[in-house]
């Protein structure tokens, strides 16, 4: 035999034996050590956006995927991803997409620096939470937005931006309804609302009477006109109108509001006030009022 053939035989025999042993080991291992995990979870997880934002109410995308596979949640529960992705999941699992009306964050305050007064000079950390801990942040209205943007920082989706008057503005297209701003705001001004409920009370002041206008020119004075005009939609509680969100909203209640505290959130035109609301055209901030 030529040396090449001899060598080849040794090599083939050795490697053949080696790979046989390895194959046997792996086969055995696959039999005995295999851990079962529903492979569909991986697939669904892959189809989810991976933002782990919690808008679906689950701790992360993967646990949502597990829930969807188990049938405990519907694909539509993820409000962040695209419609196509939701449809793909539904198709893959052979289930309904499910209906879920999107919820977005709504801010119950319209008191920007141009209309709401400060009564003390805040020093220290540049954060609403920190400011709220000392004297409530120095805003004359005890309920109002401090405008230091904790909500802006908290939002992972860039859906919140601070406007020139120091008020957060929510971009409805970007908002996923994850609720991070709700947790972040020390004044509890954010809440998640159905996107199709466009009647909104942009005020949280529980004080009544025209004195509140000294603190904020767009505050609700609790005059009750809105509730009077749409009694089945609105009730007055604690000096604030409360909208019944289970009902189809209408624009009627905003019409006679003297301060424009109750508004219609038009998707295109933004915040629409009633015709009776006095117009504020001030652009600069109100001066600090001495205490």
């Amino acid at each position: 035999m030529s040396p090449t053939i001899l060598l080849s035989l040794t090599a083939v025999a050795t490697l053949g034996a080696l790979s046989l042993v390895l194959a046997a080991l792996l086969v055995g291992a696959n039999r005995r050590l295999q851990v079962y995990e529903d492979p569909r979870i991986d697939v669904v997880d892959d189809l989810l956006p991976g933002a782990n934002c919690g808008a679906c109410g689950f701790p992360g995308c993967r646990s949502f995927a597990e829930a969807v596979v188990k049938g405990e949640a519907q694909p539509a529960g993820c409000t962040v991803g695209t419609d196509a992705a939701r449809a793909a999941i539904a198709e893959f699992l052979g289930v309904e997409v499910g209906a879920q009306v999107r919820r977005v964050a709504r801010l119950a305050c319209a008191g920007g620096r141009n209309v709401a007064r400060m009564k003390a000079r805040g020093v220290g950390l540049d954060s609403c939470a920190a400011a709220a801990l000392v004297g409530g942040g120095g805003k004359a209205c005890a309920w109002g937005c401090l405008g230091l943007g904790d909500c802006d920082v908290a939002c992972d989706f860039d859906a919140i931006s601070m406007n020139v008057h120091g008020l957060p503005v929510v971009d409805e297209d970007l908002c996923t309804g994850c609720g991070d701003c709700v947790v972040a705001c020390p004044k509890d001004l954010f809440s998640l609302q159905r996107i199709d409920r466009r009647l909104w009370v942009a005020c949280a002041s529980r004080e009544a009477g025209d004195e509140v206008l000294e603190d904020c020119e767009v505050a609700c004075t609790a005059c009750g006109r809105c509730a009077a005009d749409a009694p089945d939609l609105i009730t007055m509680q604690d000096n604030l109108p409360v909208i019944d969100m289970s009902r189809e909203p209408s624009r009627v209640p905003i019409e006679r509001c003297p301060t424009g505290a109750i508004v219609w959130l038009d998707p295109d035109r933004g915040l629409v006030k009633g015709s009776a609301a006095h117009r504020v055209i001030r652009r600069g901030p109100l001066p600090l009022s001495p205490t």
Binding site: S19, L22, A23, L26, V27, N30, P39, R40, V43, D46, F92
Partner: protein, 215 residues
């Protein structure tokens, strides 16, 4: 049950070639195959040789893996791929030794270690096992070139500063003070860090320009 996630490629196949050069450069962007990148780049010549050797194995393994991908069950995938790669590396190893013993000595164990270069198995796993022959070939070629390019970047800088030469030829004046650290391990880390900074900077600039265009 399984959804083929790379089912229908939507990109032109030339993209497979180009992406490895910069956008998905295995070294600067993916940070893979770092050991040879650092270990054998103390001279430009070593870097080039290592780059070419790796490219050969990368292209070869991509092609073979792509060819046999349908016959290999997923449980033995890694071992099988590694056998293929190891064979190719053994071939390279012997070939280099036959070509130049000196080069073989300079590259040392790192030729053998091409087997475990994460880039190679990474491409086999992530790309070749899911794509056709031609695309896999292009992918291997592109990644290999990108890898070689990165190695050369390091090798040239390290050799120039460390010895005042390039590919063995003196390019700096005789009075040049060598920076010994450049050919030491720490110099490898620093040079790579420097290059990553440069790449980051370029990419940042690009992103900014793109943003500006979009706006």
């Amino acid at each position: 049950m399984s959804v083929d996630r790379a089912a229908t490629p939507t990109t032109p196949s030339t993209d497979e070639f180009i992406k490895g050069l910069w956008r998905e450069n295995p070294v600067f962007v993916q940070v893979l195959g770092m050991c040879p990148v650092l270990a054998v780049t103390n001279t430009a010549r070593n870097a080039l040789a290592m780059g070419l050797a790796t490219m050969f194995v990368l292209v070869g393994s991509n092609v073979v893996v792509s060819a046999i991908r349908r016959f290999v069950p997923k449980q033995v995938r890694i071992v099988t791929y590694i056998l293929v790669i190891a064979t190719l590396v053994t071939i390279v190893d012997y070939s280099i030794a036959a070509l130049s013993l000196e080069l073989h000595k300079a590259l040392g164990a790192f030729i053998s270690l091409i087997v475990v270069n994460c880039v190679i198995l990474g491409r086999a796993e992530a790309f070749a096992s899911k794509n056709g022959l031609w695309r896999s070939f292009l992918d291997g070629l592109g990644m290999g070139l990108g890898f070689t390019f990165a190695l050369l970047c390091l090798g040239a800088v390290r050799e120039l500063f460390g010895m005042g030469t390039l590919f063995g030829a003196a390019v700096l004046p005789a009075a040049w003070q060598d920076w010994v650290i450049m050919i030491l391990p720490s110099g490898g880390f620093f040079t790579l860090a420097g290059w990553v900074l440069v790449v980051n900077r370029i990419n940042q600039g690009r992103a900014r320009r793109k943003d500006a265009e979009a706006a």
